[in-house]
């Protein structure tokens, strides 16, 4: 396997593709506006929480980071499904790539795209937060809990990326693959979760193992930060609501990794067996 050549090729395709620049541009604009607003509210004391490192990681590794899943999956589906529309997957194999190498190239693409968006959040969020007043916060710039959230988020991105890879490889048409991806993540899996809840006594427990439910749970800070969990529990108790029931971390990680491997393996078997 000539991995450096695969990386070079995926990079050439990625950096010259207009949708890459568009999605990354939109995402950067959202991040700058979002984190900029957090910074503004902090220095004007509209928000009592200081937007400065390390506490700003609570916000940086929050909602806006989750939004990157949408952009990453759209971009991956466009890049991978169009390889079939343009028949370049076929031509790559004709030119001498083994099918296994072609597929490895796509796995590397998932990692590259995920890394680009992930680092974009960290860099932009970190830069804007470094402008904040850090006199009220203490401790290392990155705390252990922040690293855990980052790691879990990376795994979640890989999971979503592998789902995009599977759908793009199965459907082989960008438009249809995008439609199916959104139909599944937005509607079908929720309906499935509701159906399981109605059908079985422990249906909601089973539903918590559905792919996107798991991958979304991975991204929740309370799963990895005891302080955040304690704060949430205190708030829930004050409001007379039950404390959220969390899945154990090893089970959550194993299940998310399981879905990621399963999606990738199915995509590979389907790709290898079908004619190009």
């Amino acid at each position: 396997m000539n991995v450096p050549a695969l990386v070079r090729n995926e990079t050439i395709k990625l950096r010259n593709y207009v949708p890459t620049l568009v999605t990354l541009g939109i995402y950067i604009a959202i991040l700058v506006l979002g984190f900029g607003e957090m910074h503004r509210r902090s220095i004007r004391e509209v928000d009592p929480r200081p937007f400065a490192l390390p506490t700003a990681w609570n916000q940086i590794l929050g909602e806006l980071l989750g939004l990157s899943v949408f952009f990453i999956c759209v971009l991956l589906i466009l890049l991978i499904a169009n390889e079939f529309t343009w028949r370049t997957a076929r031509q790559n194999v004709i030119d001498g790539l083994a099918k296994e190498e072609w597929f490895l190239g796509k796995m590397l693409l998932v990692a590259i795209v995920g890394s680009v968006f992930f680092l974009t959040v960290i860099v932009i969020g970190g830069l804007i937060a470094s402008l904040g007043d850090d006199s009220a916060v203490a401790g290392p710039i990155v705390r252990a809990a922040d690293l855990k959230v980052m790691g879990a988020f990376a795994l979640s991105l890989l999971g979503y990326g592998s789902l995009a890879l599977l759908i793009a490889t199965l459907v082989r048409s960008a438009g249809s693959a995008l439609g199916i991806f959104f139909l599944y993540t937005v509607l079908l899996e929720r309906l499935l979760g509701l159906g399981l809840g109605y059908a079985f006594d422990r249906g909601s427990d089973i539903a918590s193992f559905l792919p996107t439910v798991l991958l979304n749970a991975l991204m929740q800070r309370i799963q990895w930060d005891p302080d955040a969990l304690a704060a949430l529990a205190a708030a829930a108790a004050a409001a007379g609501q039950p404390v959220p029931d969390l899945m154990s971390a090893p089970v959550l990680l194993a299940a998310a990794a399981g879905w990621t491997v399963a999606f990738t393996a199915i995509a590979f078997v389907v790709f290898r067996r079908r004619d190009l």
Partner: protein, 307 residues
Amino acid sequence: MSDAPVIETTGLTKRFGSQIAVDGISFTVERGQIFGFLGPNGSGKTTTIGMLLGIINATAGSFRLLGEGSLRGLHRVRQRVGATLETPNFYPYLSGRDNLRIVANVKRAPESKIVEVLDAVGLADRAKDRFRTYSLGMKQRLALAATMLGDTDLVILDEPANGLDPEGMREIREIILRLREQGRTIFLSSHLLWEVERTCTHVAIIKNGRIVRQASVSEMTAGTVTAGLRGGDAETLLAIVGDYPGAVTVTRQADLVIAELRDDDLAALNAFVAGRGIFLSHLALRQRSLEDVFIELTGEPPTGTAV
């Protein structure tokens, strides 16, 4: 360099459900040949090439490329094969140069080779333009440039002159001949029989997934004497020549009746036709063309026949 055949298939078969696209075909391509692979639309040409290139899984049979038959060996030697299938397939948003850069990375060819092959096909000045802005002829030439990257021993081209004007076809033909001069073996699938006849050294004709004949072009077009006749109503003339005792086969192309004869006694043929009330405006011995052979063997004219 090995003396093994460049391509050797044995009983190669492909089924799509209950339909047999390629039915146990066996043929051999030797080093240095320009091998024409001919057949009507849907006869199994592209499926056969697809199996050789590893993009279609064979249902049965086997093949060797450049002497290699194992899965690992085939993958290794495919880097010494340059090929295009049906249409040139490149990333439309990338420049010609970046598209070749991708191929060069796969074939482990040096960057300097890209400039060389772009120059060889006359695309050096359009190298930075996006593939989608290229004309069909330029796309075909870029595909040929891609086949020249790497240490290519075998070039497989599926309909390389498809949709090109005569000038474009001439350019492609010249590039193919240049590739052969450089010692490469060419496997060419085309329905432009007159192009194949001018370019190829050997030919196989496939029909309904089976090879119906394989020979050198000269062997293929040798044989009985052929005469072309024109005069009066073509249908009537066809029937009269069909009754001529010296005729072996008689076919018609527009108003021209073509007869394969047992001898070259055109005077006797002329007298026979005149005796039945038809006076010929044209009667000449003609070289038996690959197209004549193709029609005889497949029973159908090739699509896109030149006039």
